[in-house]
Symmetry: C2
Amino acid sequence: MVAFVDKKIRIGIAGYGNLGRGVEYAVSRCEDMELSAVFTRRSPEELQVASGTQVYSFTEIESHVDNIDVMILCGGSKNDLPKQGPELAKFFNTIDSFDTHAKIPDYFEAVDASAKPNGKTAIISVGWDPGMFSINRLYGEAILPEGETYTFWGKGLSQGHSDALRRIEGVRNAVQYTIPVDEAVDRVRSGLQPQLTTREKHTRECFVVLEEGSNKDEVEQTIVTMPDYFADYDTTVHFIDEKQLKEDHSAMPHGGFVIRSGKTGDNNNQVMEFSLGLESNPEFTSSVLVAYARAAYRMNRAGDTGAKTVFDVAPGLLSIQSAKELRKHLL
Amino acid sequence: MVAFVDKKIRIGIAGYGNLGRGVEYAVSRCEDMELSAVFTRRSPEELQVASGTQVYSFTEIESHVDNIDVMILCGGSKNDLPKQGPELAKFFNTIDSFDTHAKIPDYFEAVDASAKPNGKTAIISVGWDPGMFSINRLYGEAILPEGETYTFWGKGLSQGHSDALRRIEGVRNAVQYTIPVDEAVDRVRSGLQPQLTTREKHTRECFVVLEEGSNKDEVEQTIVTMPDYFADYDTTVHFIDEKQLKEDHSAMPHGGFVIRSGKTGDNNNQVMEFSLGLESNPEFTSSVLVAYARAAYRMNRAGDTGAKTVFDVAPGLLSIQSAKELRKHLL
């Protein structure tokens, strides 16, 4: 298990929210890595990190180029990564979890333009979707070209939909769960290749804390008719108090299924399925980021530079074991 | 979808049994490939292949080096591949499904010694186990280093166990199904990380046709006490006639589950699962072989030669789509 551990891979964390904390935990479980520094936009003195690692201001991140092998970008896709990704890939090998699907091609080009001329390796859009789910969609389509791919999400807490609820006037706090419809999943698993509408695949369940004096019926009506977010789904709204919300809905579970249903030969059904059942969505994403940091380090040492995605990374590069050990023990 | 289709990849099939027929079907579903030739150890005149492709004798295979980009080896792991793999990798890029787990390291070295000095790319042990199951074991261990990996097989027809039954005196014909125990799978999925014995994980079900005059009880006793194959399992034996066997047990279904159950953060359970439900085991294996033929072709053109396993192949190389298309449509 120690073939690659000649020198520990030095990891930096850029941004210390749920994802950053998850990376800190995950690195501590990897005997070939060490956490070198955490960078924050808050004032560093105010931030105490679990592992006791030194915290620095984001403004001085460039002065750490010689102490960090891979920088893991733990900011958000909306406001942080579009700027940080291309900027930091000039100085570091990077990993990020950029997940705005429609903007991935542009983001890739921007990061590549920074990484390549500077000899850095930057793996973008790492996590589970995009990430492990994408890989499984690809394996499914490549192996069973005649077929259909289905992605179901949940049961899990959706950050984007929870935020949408919180923006409604009269809502003080809220969480939203995305729930795959069992019957739809079963039909897909059976090999039938059904055509499924948005409404048939998922339901949405909301737990809402109202501001004092606001109107239940009005808020509920606003939710269930909200375009894009809720109008196309069967949505249930529960009104609860802040205490209940804290007690019962503070965890961040998620998961889902990628199912490829295809035909081979004359007419044989073949079903491939990948699923995740996660008690902590950010901690799992962090664990994926850390495994890909190992790959980025190795690819960079091998001269494979520029922007990359999970599609470009051979599975073996993620493992602490050598290719020889993997052939012997895991194949 | 056509970015890579400048020139079709020319495929050869070495050995035309269930696997070879499956490859023939699978190639016909890939618009960037064409089947160039089938090689057999039988006399070529006697063999009529479904697609009408030209059939040649194995003895003249070397004279086809200029007409074939990737040779897919469809022989068996016991008697064919140990010789054919190293021999053919001198002349062709090859794909095979060598699945004798304990002998993989030696086989890899033998194939590498042929492929590398001759500038060929040879991907060994491709299929679903070894193959897709191996990849999922690797992803699981790399992403969740603190955890347990479980592999369940079935429900499916096991060729090796069926052969063991047929070697018993008094048995005329037989098939054996390997069946995962639902309760064990559920316990693993729950994140409990149970310790499971061989007996707790799988049961075995045999359908046996007796030779005339042989003794049911004796045969049954021989089966259920057979070391390695049946003694460690709860085994059920059904005696049926040849007609029933043909009618109900001629298909070759298989499948199974690879489950990684791990912990992140303080103590959160995270479960990753990959499963296959296959109506035709050989046709699915063939479909995996053909996808990896695309990768072998591309790796060879990029100068990446020698023996490889699925661990060495970036997922994107399997797809007919270009890296740019994959980022846009599949990530």
